[in-house]
C-alpha cells in the first residue's frame, strides 16, 4: 500500500479558507489528505501549534494566509511569516523543515489552492511517513521537537520574533533601525542557544546528569553545554544534585 500522508492545514478565514471554498464551488479536484483548522488570521498561529502538530505524528503542516499586502487584518500575515520563518529555523536543526510550508492563497484563487495543496501533499509523500507517527516513534527526534516547542514558548524567543518587524522595519525604543542581517545574527544565535537549553532541561527533567553525560546525549561540545548550563543555573532552572567522584551532577528544579 502506498503511503498516504496526514496533513494539517491552518487556513485564515478571509483569504485561504475562502480560496479553499472556491476550489470546491468550482469543483477543482485535489487529493483528500489535508484536514483544515480555520483561524481568523494566519497571524493567530501560535508557533507552538506547529510543533504540537508534528509531535502528534502528523506528517506535514501547511500554513496558508492572504497574499502579502492583502491581509484582512492589514499585517497579520507578515507576523505569521516571521513566526513561520522562526519555526523553520528551528526545524532545520534536525532537518525537519521540509515538513512545514507557508504559502499565500487569495479568496479568488481556488485553482491555486488546489495546486499548492497537491504539491505539498506530493512533497510529503516523497519524504515518507513522519518518524513520529505510528507505534515506534523516534524518541530522540520527539525530544528535539519537544525542546523546540518549549523554545518557541519561551519569553526570549517570543520577545525577539514579536519585536522583529518593529525593530528591523520601523525603529527600536532608541530610535534606531536594526539592520536585518544584524538582527538575524542575534536571532540565529538565540534560536540555537534556546534549543540547547530547552534540550538540557528536557533531559534533566527525568534524569540526573553530568555535563559530560549531557554532551554525549545531545552530541554537543561539553564547553557549549556547560556555558548554557551556567545560564540555566543563574535563571534558577537547574541546580547541583550531588557529586559523583569529581563530577557534579545536575537536576532540574
Amino acid at each position: 500500500m502506498t503511503f498516504e500522508p496526514k496533513i494539517l492545514g491552518f487556513l485564515c478565514n478571509w483569504c485561504s479558507y475562502a480560496g479553499a471554498d472556491l476550489a470546491g464551488v468550482s469543483r477543482i479536484q485535489y487529493p483528500p489528505n489535508m484536514r483544515v483548522i480555520r483561524v481568523m488570521c494566519s497571524g493567530r498561529i501560535n508557533p507552538v501549534f506547529i510543533f504540537k502538530t508534528l509531535l502528534t505524528g502528523i506528517d506535514g503542516v501547511f500554513v496558508l494566509g492572504c497574499h502579502p499586502g492583502d491581509c484582512h487584518y492589514l499585517e497579520g500575515n507578515y507576523e505569521a511569516e516571521k513566526k513561520f520563518i522562526m519555526v523553520q529555523k528551528f526545524l532545520k536543526i534536525v532537518d525537519f523543515d521540509k515538513r512545514v510550508r507557508l504559502d499565500w492563497v487569495s479568496a479568488s484563487e481556488g485553482a491555486r489552492f488546489a495546486k499548492v495543496v497537491s504539491e505539498f501533499i506530493d512533497s510529503i509523500r516523497e519524504q515518507g511517513p513522519s518518524p513520529l507517527s505510528g507505534e515506534n516513534i523516534d524518541q530522540e527526534l520527539f525530544n528535539n521537537l519537544k525542546a523546540m516547542e518549549n523554545s518557541v514558548s519561551s519569553d526570549r524567543i517570543r520577545a525577539l520574533v514579536g519585536r522583529q518587524r518593529k525593530i528591523t522595519e520601523v525603529e527600536n525604543e532608541y530610535g534606531e533601525k536594526v539592520p536585518i542581517d544584524e538582527f538575524n545574527a542575534i536571532f540565529d544565535e538565540a534560536i540555537h542557544d534556546e534549543f540547547v537549553r530547552q534540550r538540557i532541561l528536557l533531559s534533566l527533567s527525568t534524569k540526573v546528569l553530568s555535563v559530560k553525560d549531557l554532551a554525549a546525549e545531545l552530541k554537543l561540545d561539553p564547553s557549549e553545554i556547560l556555558e548554557n548550563m551556567l545560564t540555566l543555573k543563574s535563571r534558577g532552572e537547574i541546580d547541583y544534585q550531588s557529586i559523583d567522584g569529581n563530577t557534579p551532577l545536575y537536576m532540574r528544579i
Binding site: V25, K52, T56, G76, K83, R158
Partner: protein, 561 residues
Amino acid sequence: MSDKEEEPRIGVFVCSCGSNIGGLIDVKALAEFSKTLPNVVFTEDNLYTCSETGLAQIKNGIKDHNLNRVIVASCTPRTHEPLFRDCVKKEGVNEYLFNFVNIRDQNTWCHQKYPEEAFDKAKDLIRMGVAKAAKLEALENIIVDATPTALVIGGGVSGMTAAHSLANQGFETHLIERETELGGRLKTLYKLFPNDQEAQILLENLKKNVQSNENLKIHTSAQVKNIEGFVGNFEVKVEENGNIIDLTIGVILVAVGTSLFTPTGYFGYDGKTRITQYELESKLKNNDVKARDIVMIQCVGSRNNERLYCSSVCCMTALKNALILKENNPETNVSILFRDLYTPGTHYEDYYRRAREAGVVFVEYSPEKMPSVEENLIKVHNEYLGEDLLIPYDLCVLSTPLVSNNDNKALAQMIKVPLEENGFFLEAHVKLRPMDFATDGVFVCGSAKWPVDITESISQGYAAAARASTIISHDTIEVEGATSFLPDYNRNLCTGCEVCIKVCPYKAINKNEEDDIEITQVLCKGCGVCGATCINHAIIIRHFTDQQILSEIYAYGGKEV
C-alpha cells in the same frame, strides 16, 4: 443559557445537502459515527439542514436532548454560519456554542473520485469539530452607541449623490472636497453618454441639491488629516482652508474618484496635435477643434504590462466624442483604432451603431503590432488586408486610462482598508459586499474602486449611502464577541513588555494610567496576532483559544503531546 461549568452536551447534525454531500458519502453513517465521539449526546442527518425542516430538527434536538453545543456538518461557515447561529440562539443556546464543520465545499466537492477518503476526511473533520465544540465558551456581543453622522470623502458625482441621499434621510452629513469647488471629474466634461446631456447642467443640479440641504455641510479646500476610532464613533480631523475641524462621525464613505494619466512617451504625446481624450473634451467644450482628420487610439497606457486593467469608460468616451465631432462637422474624418470595443447594454451599443452610420471608421489593431504615429500619417497594421494602412491626421487623440490617486495609500492607512494592485480601493467582496470594506462602518463608491462612468457613479453613490444608513439608522451597534482578551487571572503573567501593543493592527491595545495592558473590545477585530505573539501566553483569543485549537490538533493527531 449554558455556562462554563456545565458538562458539554453536543448535538451533531449532518447535512446531505441534497446530493451534494449525500451523493458521495453516507451521511447516515456519519451521524452514527458522531454518536461515538466524546460528549456527543444526539446526532441526526438532514436532507437540507438549512431548510425550515432542518432548522426545526436542530431546535427540537436542543429542546428534547438539552443540548448546550450544536455542530452542523455541511457547506461552509462563510455562507451559513449566521443562519445556524441564529437558529441555536432562538432556542436559548449561546451563538458562540455553535460550531461549523465544512464537509461540502472543502470535501465532497473536491474529492469526487475518492468517496472512501472523503468519508474518512469528514469523520476526522467532525471529530475535530466535536473536540473544539466541547471547549467552546459562551460569549456576548458588545453593544456600542452609534453617532448618526456621515462623512463623505470626495465631492464628485458619486460623493455628491451619496451625501445628498444620506442628508435627505435626515442624517447630519459632511462632504469633503479638496478642491475649491465641488464637481470632481464632471467639471471637466462636455456632454455625457448615453443621452448627450450637458455635463454642466447635471453638475449644477447636483450642486443645487447638496447646497440646499440643511443636513449637509460642505467643506471645500478641505482634506482629511486623521481618523481614529471605530464604527459609529470615528474621530475625524479635517483641515479646511488651513483650519482644523474635529468631527465625530458614525460612517465614512470613500468617493475620492481617480486621477488622469499623462501619456508621456506614448505615440509622441505632446499636448498639441497629439492629445488625450480628456484634452479633446475640453476643446469640444470650448468649441476649439479645428482639425479635419482626427484619429483616436484606444487603450493607451492600459491593458498593458504596467496597467493590466481596462479603464472601462474610454470606449464610450471615444464614441461619444467622435459623434460630437461628426455632428459639429460631417466633413470631419474620424477614425478609431481599437483593440476591443466595449459597448455593453442597449444604450451603449446604440452609440456604436450611430457612430458607424455617421461614417466613423473603425480599425482594429493588435498589441503585437502597435500603430505608429508619424509626422502626418498614422500607420496601423490591418490583419484582414495583411498590410499597413496609412491614415493622415492633423489631430491624434489618445484614450488614456483613469488611474488611482497618489494619496489613496495615505487615506487607506487612516481608515484601515486595503488597496488593490493598481492603487484603487478594494471592497470587502466583489459580489456579496461591493460597497463595503472589511473594516466596519467604511464604504466605497464611484471610481475610487475602479473607473466607472457617470451613470454607474450615481448608482454606486446611492448604493453606498443605502449601506451606510443601515448602520447609522440605529442608535447602537453590535460588535462580535470573539475578541482578544486579557483575563484578570492572567494579569500576573503579563510583564508589560508591550509587544502586543506593537503588533495590534487596530491600535486596540494600550496601557492605562495604572500601566496595565488594556484591550478596547470594540476596536478589536479578533485577528489573534497579539495572543500568538504574547511572550507569556497571557492574552486569550476568544473563540479561537489555544486550548480550542490544540483540541482540534489532538483530535486529528490521535493523541495529546
